[in-house]
């Protein structure tokens, strides 16, 4: 019983991200509306960002900003005291890329709406086939 509990506590965060990611994937595959697909893509990206940030944590460590940083910096710095900064750096840029893709995707959706007067995928396909 204790083993199962410790297993769940050690892994449940990954399960939450996988569920979130699958919600995004489901929206991208199934939803008919282009804006809903874009929102699904954003949920997918958010799940990946959360996953990376959770990789960076360490038990008993603090944020990666060094104490007494204003001084001469002669204090010894131990890697076990600070969480892993690399996932944060990667995700900082990934968040920005997700904003950029969201902007461009919405622009294309607007362009599609201007051309076909609808954002529903099946209606766009029937209009394309009619030509």
């Amino acid at each position: 019983m204790n083993e199962i509990a410790s297993f769940i506590i050690a892994k449940y965060n990954y399960w939450i991200y996988i569920v979130l990611m699958m919600i995004g994937l489901y929206a991208m595959i199934v939803k008919n509306n282009l804006v809903k697909k874009i929102i699904g893509m954003n949920i997918f990206q958010t799940a990946i960002i959360l996953f990376y940030v959770s990789i960076g944590t360490k038990r008993g460590a603090t944020i990666p900003i060094i104490y007494h940083g204003h001084g001469d910096g002669s204090h010894a710095v131990h890697a076990t005291d600070y969480i892993n900064p690399l996932p944060h750096v990667l995700m900082l840029t990934a968040i920005v890329v997700s904003v950029a893709t969201l902007g461009v995707a919405l622009a294309i959706a607007l362009k599609v709406y201007r051309r076909y007067n609808t954002l529903e995928e099946d209606e766009i396909f029937t209009q394309i086939r009619r030509k």
Partner: protein, 276 residues
Amino acid sequence: MKKLGLIIVLICGSLMLYGTIDFPDWADPSSPASTHLSPYFIETAMHDTAVPNIVTAVLADYRGYDTMFETTVIFAAGLACFFLLRRFQRRAPDVNLFRHMPTGITLRIKKGGKVPVDSSEFERIDSIWVPYDLIIKTTCRLLIPFILLFALYVIAHGHHSPGGGFQGGVILGAGIILYAISHNLRAAKARIKERFDAYMCSAGVFIYVGTGVLCLLMGANFLDYSALAPLLGTDPIMARSHGILIVEIGVGIAVMAVMICLYYNLSSAGRQDEGL
């Protein structure tokens, strides 16, 4: 389609859930991600660059190329949005709505009608009628300067606290967008013109790349800020710290301008005459 999608999602999800058995435990200090490269950065970043915030040091110094092209990606996204949506031919609207400010009466002027020129009493409003809201306008006018000030703090204090160019730039852009939402798009465009915004977009990227080229001209590698020490009048380690600040300012300007560009074009579908 719905059933097929559900089956695909369930199979993918269960495979991934099965894969988590081999993952390191949450917050395990000896997980593979925290044992190889990150101890080096944590232990030497302060010594190398005099920047206590390791994330900032890694972002703008060790991984400077990555961040440079990230800024370029943002710039390209702003350009793509502009070229996809922007329409320049000005189509005169069928009806112009004007609000008489002292009385609150809305005037409806058809095409060809005489437009009131006394702009101190009349205010043009969007073709979808919006009520005049003193509370929203006053609150936003009081808040926006502090939002912008906080954004500058986030950029400038990125060395010692969580923050930096990307975050500060987004807050700067959000302040301007809040102004555009609380008043209207024309009021925001009177403050930040589209041409000025485009110049800022490219100026941000130019500051970043220009810093790198300056390092080349000083005889070091591209984006090796320690070569800027003679120009800044400091030792090479502090020069790396200052170089990071210069680069972050460039990133902040570029991100702010692109956010504003995205909002202007998306909210008005490229016409930029009346928005949300």
